[in-house]
Symmetry: C2
Subunit: 523 residues, 2 copies
């Protein structure tokens, strides 16, 4: 908020925010340890794991003839060629779990944005990929490449969005241009870690080259991988999507950390029983962990549990329900039990606009996953209409929601000082009978308490006097302010020129500077 | 929704809701067992308890000369008359904890509304008391007695609001008339359990008489207490409010279950360190548990932990923050550790209107308290502007939020059937590769999944076609429908006549019938 030149909202709120903005990250720290919410009993986690092993051995997975299937066969899996199913024995799962990575670094361009995935450490960020943009005038349009750049600039300034997963589909580009251009647009906008996918297996090599150039060298990238991939390599139930397996193979080949993501919808592509959905999802994930560890033991792999729900009245995807929350939180618990870094989704809403429904659904799903200790909670900024629409002001709103959630993940420190026995005694027996001016209060006011950027705590009179803005209106003001003023210079001119020489970069330089920005932006 | 005559919202949503409304309560059952979220470690709970004992013995509580202080003195407490402080030794706390009630029944007029407080069973409901009403036209006015009646009718129809705590101050009445009339207005509106306070100690006897008349006899009330009291008998830090102690004494005398409620604001009336606020609050509560158990061992007493937070930039009360959530969830965990039934507050928002902020703050605070297993979560329906305003549509919205929360509290059932190993095998090897028409899916669709009353899951096109309502607008339509149509007959004519003969009931009979209702209602 230091750059405020176009702030329209007068009064106390902005002054308050400035006063406390410096200490914010320590109040609600990225990577705080979750795991205090355990939706399942330990023995229930064991039963789900055992059931998943049975499914892998008895039901197996559908894999068409391919190098992938050959890898499974050579490792000792039975293959039924008539029905194209691979049956994975428990011994192979056990072996993979002995070789797999328990901790995965997804690096920021600068170390303060590093994500140390593993255990119950919690990070929240954007997800992808939307096909519609609800713009700042309230109009809906198709998403384009430059959205990935401008949303990235916004995210760069929002402390409670910890990573930048490419948010929208470049609907203005041909398939062969998307991979390079979506990564470029994201990497040029923020120093936070960038994750996206690759549509074409043959582009993975190019993306690794681009990442090396930005990192400075191949060795630098290997030490601190600033990009990662998500590969949705299964089609639930239990079937491999062979074209995505090729992308996965390439990511492994080129040592780019990868999420293997499966996204069953309970009642449609996995059992309606929530426990059954967890079993199937875990079976899918374990098959992928076996596969990747057969190719490169210890590869930086993240399990991608993206359980969702079909509304069984209509069959439609739904992402804001209590059942959705339970499934995602349970996955976090299972991942900790198995010591596998996890990526999952929460902070979704089925609402079409940033209204009370969006506020509620995002909070319920996001809080459950975070308290359960999910490592990489994607989709937790910007999304509306299940996963179809993003809105600039929603990123700003979600930054505040994520802040409150991360404050809760940090929890309550209990020690001799915080127990405050002497402070209470002083105030009640020698003091003024209140704590407002006490030394402890002054010391803790900026470390114990997170002051929201947007959430309004004014009296009704003050709120009315300052315009009666609802949260969406306030967020639009802040989004405009940030978008108008924050133009981070992530690449040197030399690097940018080198990238543009080497790759067919379609985002014009003119899009990456403030001159005439609003004229282009809202049209 | 069966009574729909004035529904304005067309299409799928209403049909869907009707189809599934019957099974709703079992999907998200009142009294489901929470406690899966534990913000504190067990040893941290022990340290907080031990610190509270030190505070009681060393710092003590301020109690003016009174029968109350005499009770403490006779039980062996040291009393310092110069500073009016009572010092409670740990032995007395231990003794009280051996005699106190671990389970408390707050009965509904009908058994399906019974609240069995204790352990980690969760109930969510209204709180009090607001001084402003945001009406269905968006105007703010002072609250009046009849609001307690009309909100009660609304709550009577909302399944995820489990009890009815008197929501508003009767600003149209003199103090001497409030006690009887606020209870009457609530009890006449719903069969759910009613809780309120008494302004005047001498009215408690009248309220017991009223309750006996409604229950049928004193014995019937003793078995199934349909009303209860909340007594905010402390002024934090650690000072007794002597006029409220008199009300508490009367409630005990007349065997009306009672909540002893203390409401410190961290940083203002309790330490800024969250752990210190828990210590002080627990000390206040333990003193009350000692006191009540000295008078009547085993009395149906509920600890009333209402920790809140001062925004330390302004000193203002705030009720929607992450810190607030942590404090209330921690209280629930402490109460289970000590086996004391608990009342606390969540579902509050500092927003002035039902916007995204209200949706977020209510969800974050409500979910944390519920997952932590708080027994009686008051304030979790209807409130806005911290605790100053209520709105009809907010009750309807909160009913949906509470439903999702209670679905999450119910959790995931793990057993041979739900693990679905055979279902997965059937679908993948003999079946259609999806679960939509599977027998398990059809069997579970109305027991595993809660279908919200309001939250919109339509596509953007369908949503636009049906009017582009945000959640608040949809809730206003439903609130109008329910208020216009639901006129429950709680009292027989004979009972109502008897009550009106015995007490000075000021709510006119004309207010309790639909004729001309909207003319009176929105003016």
């Amino acid at each position: 908020m230091q750059e405020s030149k176009v702030a329209r909202r007068p009064g106390r709120r902005n002054r308050e925010n400035q006063k406390t903005s410096e200490s914010k990250s320590s109040v609600a720290p990225a990577g705080a340890m979750g795991g205090r919410y355990k939706p399942l009993l330990d023995q229930e986690v064991d039963r789900i794991f055992e059931a998943a092993l049975i499914v892998l051995e008895r039901t197996g997975i559908e894999v068409m003839e391919s190098p992938c299937r050959e890898t499974f066969r050579k490792a000792g899996c039975r293959v039924d060629r008539d029905i194209n199913r691979v049956f994975i024995p428990p011994e192979l799962v056990e072996k993979a779990m002995n070789t797999m990575a328990h901790e995965v670094l997804l690096a920021g361009r600068t170390p303060e944005h590093d994500l140390n995935l593993g255990s119950a450490r919690v990070y929240m960020g954007t997800g992808g990929q939307a096909v519609k943009m609800l713009d700042l005038n309230g109009n809906v349009r198709e998403t384009i490449t430059s959205d990935n750049y401008h949303i990235g600039r916004l995210v760069d300034k929002l402390d409670n969005i910890h990573f930048y997963m490419r948010p929208v589909v470049c609907r203005d580009l041909e398939n062969e241009d998307i991979d390079v251009n979506q990564f470029y647009a994201c990497l040029a906008a923020t120093n936070k870690h960038v994750m996206a996918n690759s549509y074409l297996p043959e582009r993975v090599k190019d993306l690794r080259t681009m990442a090396n150039m930005i990192s400075g060298s191949a060795e630098a990238f290997n030490k601190r991988p600033i990009i990662s991939f998500t590969a949705c390599w299964t089609v639930s139930p239990l079937r491999y999507a062979m074209e995505t397996v090729e992308v996965l193979d390439q990511a492994i080949e080129h040592d780019i950390p990868v999420v293997i993501s499966s996204a069953p919808q309970a009642g449609a592509t996995s059992p309606a029983a929530l426990a059954g959905t967890l079993v199937q999802l875990l079976a899918e994930q374990l098959s992928g962990i076996v596969y990747v560890n057969l190719i490169k033991p210890g590869f930086p792999l993240i399990m991608g549990c993206v359980p969702a729900q079909a509304d069984l009245r209509t069959g439609a995807f739904t992402g804001g329900s209590g059942e959705f929350s339970l499934l995602n939180a349970a996955c976090a618990q299972i991942s900790q039990h198995l010591r596998i870094p996890i990526y999952n989704s929460s902070g979704i809403s089925d609402s079409k606009i940033p209204d009370a429904q969006a506020g509620a659904e995002k909070s319920l799903t996001g809080l459950a996953a975070a308290l359960a200790g999910s490592n990489y909670i994607h989709h937790s900024a910007g999304f509306l209409e299940s996963l179809l629409t993003v809105a600039y002001e929603q990123y700003v709103i979600d930054n505040d929601i994520n802040g409150a959630i991360m404050r809760m993940v940090r929890g309550i420190e209990v020690n001799d000082q915080t127990l405050s026995v002497d402070v209470i005694h002083d105030v009640c027996t020698d003091g003024p009978n209140h704590f407002l001016g006490h030394e402890q209060t002054l010391n803790l006011m900026n470390t114990e308490y997170l002051y929201p950027q947007l959430m309004d705590r004014a009296t009704r009179d003050d709120w009315e006097a300052s315009g009666e803005f609802d949260l969406r209106q306030t967020a639009i003001v802040q989004a405009k302010e940030l978008l108008g003023n924050h133009w981070p210079k992530i690449f040197t001119d030399e690097l940018d020129n080198d990238l543009r020489k080497r790759f067919n970069i379609l985002l014009p330089k003119s899009e990456m500077q403030p001159d005439g920005f609003w004229d282009r932006f809202i049209s």
